[in-house]
C-alpha cells in the first residue's frame, strides 16, 4: 500500500505541476490587474497546438518548439490585454463574461481550423522510461515536475529581485501607490499578461507529448488551477504554487479510497471547505476593509 501512496503522490505532483503553471499565470494577472481570466485554460490549449504545429511542421526540436510557442502566446496574451481586458478594467462582471466569450470563440476556432480530433506529439527524447525504486515513469512525467519547479524558482527570484519583478509586486499591492511612485502601471499590465500567457503556453507544451493535444484539454486544468489559487489564498503567488500541488496530490490520493467518478468533486469540495473554514486561504492576507 505504501508504494501505491508514493506513486499516487508522484502522479499528483505531475498533475499538480500543470495546475500550478495555470494558477501562476492567473494569480499574477489577478494580482496586478484584479482580473480573473477564465480564458487562461484555453490559452494553455492554444499553447499546446502552437507547439505541436512548430514541432511537427517546422522544427523537429521539442525545446525550440516550446520557445516559439511561448513567444507566440506571449504576443497573443498582450493583444488580448490591450483589446479586451484593458478597456474593461475595474468592471469585474464584464471582464469575467468577456473571458467566457473568449473561451467559446477560441476553443471553437481551434476546432474549425485544426479539426475536432486529438493530435499526437511523439517526442522520442522524453518517452524513455526511468525507474524510481520498483516504479517506472516516462522521463516526460518527471520533466513536467522538474521544469515547473525550476520555473517557480526563477519566477520567485525575478519577482523578489529584478526591477520589473518589484514593479509587478508593487502594482499588485496598491495600484495607485505604484502609479504615484512613477511605475508605468499600464506597461506592467501587459508585461504581466504576456508573462501569464507564456506560463500557460509552457504548461500546454509540457503535457502535449505526455497526453494528447485536443480542443478541450485546457478546461480541467483551468478549473483545478482556480481551486489551487483559492486554496493558497486569493492573490498570493506562493499560495497558488502550494495550492496547485495540494489539489493535484489530493485528487490522485483520493482515487485510493473513493469511487473515482466523484474525483473532480474532491478538488471542489476541498476548495469550498477550506474557504468556509479559512476564507483567506493558506497564505492570503486579508486586505483591510476588502469588500
Amino acid at each position: 500500500m505504501l508504494s501505491a501512496i508514493l506513486e499516487q503522490t508522484i502522479n499528483g505532483l505531475m498533475a499538480g505541476s500543470v495546475y500550478v503553471l495555470v494558477a501562476l499565470g492567473m494569480v499574477l494577472i489577478y494580482g496586478v490587474m484584479h482580473v480573473l481570466n477564465f480564458a487562461h485554460g484555453v490559452l494553455l490549449m492554444v499553447g499546446a497546438y502552437v507547439c505541436h504545429f512548430f514541432f511537427t511542421r517546422v522544427t523537429g526540436s521539442y525545446v525550440l518548439s516550446i520557445a516559439l510557442a511561448i513567444i507566440v502566446l506571449c504576443l497573443l496574451g498582450i493583444a488580448l490585454e490591450r483589446a479586451v481586458f484593458r478597456p474593461l478594467q475595474g468592471n469585474l462582471r464584464n471582464q469575467v463574461i468577456a473571458s467566457l466569450g473568449l473561451i467559446l470563440a477560441i476553443e471553437h476556432l481551434v476546432i474549425a481550423v485544426w479539426g475536432p480530433n486529438a493530435l499526437q506529439m511523439k517526442v522520442p527524447a522524453t518517452s524513455a522510461l526511468v525507474a524510481v525504486g520498483e516504479l517506472r515513469f516516462p522521463v516526460q512525467h518527471l520533466l513536467v515536475i522538474g521544469v515547473t519547479l525550476v520555473v517557480v524558482a526563477i519566477l520567485f527570484v525575478f519577482l523578489k529581485t529584478s526591477k520589473f519583478g518589484t514593479a509587478i509586486r508593487a502594482t499588485s499591492q496598491d495600484r495607485q501607490a505604484a502609479m504615484v511612485v512613477g511605475i508605468p502601471v499600464e506597461r506592467i499590465d501587459w508585461i504581466t499578461f504576456g508573462l501569464g500567457t507564456a506560463l500557460a503556453a509552457l504548461g500546454g507544451a509540457l503535457i502535449g507529448p505526455l497526453f494528447l493535444v485536443f480542443p478541450q484539454m485546457g478546461d480541467a486544468p483551468m478549473v483545478k488551477g482556480l481551486a489551487g489559487i483559492l486554496l493558497g489564498g486569493m492573490g498570493s503567488v506562493p499560495g497558488a504554487v502550494i495550492g496547485g500541488f495540494i489539489i493535484g496530490v489530493a485528487e490522485s490520493l483520493s482515487t485510493l479510497f473513493m469511487p473515482t467518478d466523484y474525483r473532480d468533486s474532491v478538488a471542489f469540495a476541498i476548495m469550498v471547505l477550506i474557504l468556509l473554514v479559512w476564507p483567506r486561504g493558506l497564505f492570503g492576507v486579508r486586505v483591510r476593509g476588502e469588500d
Partner: protein, 312 residues
C-alpha cells in the same frame, strides 16, 4: 405608455402563433425551446441582472428540479402538476441551501464556488445511476396529463403550456422588479455596504433571490425534460450554465425583456440558420466580447437607446 402597447401586441402575436403557423410545426418547436431556455434565464436575470450575483452553475439547479420531477413522475407515479410543483420547490430549496454557502463569498470567490457546485451537481446527475439513470439519460418522462380535456401531447398545446410558464416567470420578474424587494436587490448590486448601513440584511435578501432564481430555473428544467421526454445530464452541464449567462447578457442584464430577447437570439437564430456549428459558437463568443466592450446593456439597452433617439 408605448412600451405597454408593444407588450400587448407581442402577447397577442405569441398567442396567435399556433393558428398562424398551422403547417409549420418546426417554428412551434423552436419557439417552445425559446420559452424553455428563457425561463431559467429569467431566474438568472433576477440574480445577475438585478442583484449582481454572477452564478456560473445556474443550470445545475434547473437539473435538481428536472430530476426531482422525473423521479417523482416515473418512480413515485405522482401526478404531473404535483410533481412539477415539488420539482420547482426542490430546486428552490437547493438554491437556498447551496446559495447560503456560496453567498459567504464575494465577487470572484462567489463565481468560482458556484462553478464548483455546478460541476459537483453535474457529476451527481451523471454518476448516481440507480436514481438518475446516469449518463445515458432518464427516458420515459411523460408529457403533462390532459387538463379537462385539453391534452398537452400535440405541439400546439405544449406550446401554450411553455408560453404560459414563461409568462408566469416574466410576471414574477416584473412583480419583483417593481416591488420593494426588487429595489433592495438593485441597491445591493450598486453598493452592498451602503445598503447594509441602511438596514438591509444583505445575506437574507441574496439567499432569497438565489432560491427564487433557482426555483424559476427548476420550472424551466421540469418543462424542458417533459418536452424532450428524457432527462439527460448534458442539458444541465457547465456549458449550458455559461449559455444561460450568455442569454441574459446578450438580451440585456437587469432589463425585463432581456431574457426573452437573449433566448430568441441564442436559441431561435441557430435553429433557423443551421450554420456549421463550430463557426456558430465562434460568432457567439466574439459577439459576447463585443457586447461587453461596446454595449454592456445588451440588446434591450440598444433598443431602448434607439427608441429614445427616435422619440426625441
Amino acid at each position: 405608455m408605448a412600451s405597454r402597447i408593444a407588450l400587448v401586441v407581442v402577447l397577442l402575436l405569441l398567442f396567435a402563433v399556433p393558428a398562424l403557423a398551422q403547417q409549420q410545426p418546426y417554428l412551434l418547436h423552436v419557439l417552445i425551446l425559446c420559452c424553455l431556455y428563457a425561463i431559467p434565464a429569467v431566474g438568472l436575470n433576477l440574480m445577475l441582472g438585478y442583484t449582481g450575483l454572477v452564478s456560473l452553475g445556474h443550470m445545475a439547479f434547473a437539473g435538481i428540479g428536472a430530476y426531482t420531477f422525473a423521479v417523482l413522475m416515473v418512480d413515485a407515479k405522482m401526478p404531473f402538476w404535483l410533481a412539477l410543483v415539488l420539482g420547482v420547490l426542490a430546486a428552490g430549496a437547493g438554491g437556498a441551501a447551496i446559495g447560503a454557502v456560496c453567498l459567504r463569498f464575494r465577487t470572484h470567490f462567489f463565481m468560482i464556488v458556484t462553478l464548483a457546485f455546478g460541476l459537483m451537481l453535474f457529476s451527481v446527475m451523471n454518476n448516481w445511476d440507480d436514481v438518475t439513470r446516469g449518463a445515458a439519460g432518464f427516458p420515459g418522462i411523460p408529457r403533462p396529463a390532459p387538463l379537462g380535456g385539453f391534452s398537452f401531447g400535440p405541439l400546439q398545446n405544449f406550446y401554450y403550456l411553455a408560453l404560459g410558464a414563461a409568462l408566469v416567470a416574466f410576471a414574477v420578474q416584473w412583480r419583483v422588479a417593481r416591488s420593494g424587494f426588487g429595489r433592495v436587490l438593485m441597491a445591493l448590486r450598486q453598493d452592498e455596504r451602503l445598503a447594509r448601513a441602511k438596514g438591509v440584511n444583505a445575506m437574507l435578501y441574496k439567499t432569497a433571490v438565489f432560491a427564487l432564481g433557482s426555483a424559476i430555473a427548476g420550472l424551466g428544467g421540469v418543462l424542458h425534460v417533459s418536452f424532450l421526454r428524457v432527462a439527460a445530464p448534458a442539458t444541465f452541464s457547465l456549458a449550458e450554465s455559461i449559455n444561460a449567462v450568455l442569454i441574459v447578457i446578450v438580451g440585456g442584464a437587469g432589463s425585463l425583456a432581456g431574457p426573452a430577447l437573449g433566448a430568441l437570439v441564442f436559441v431561435g437564430l441557430p435553429e433557423y440558420l443551421r450554420v456549421a456549428s463550430e463557426w456558430r459558437l465562434v460568432v457567439f463568443g466574439v459577439l459576447l466580447v463585443l457586447i461587453m466592450l461596446f454595449a454592456p446593456q445588451g440588446l434591450s439597452g440598444l433598443i431602448e437607446s434607439a427608441w429614445r433617439r427616435v422619440r426625441r
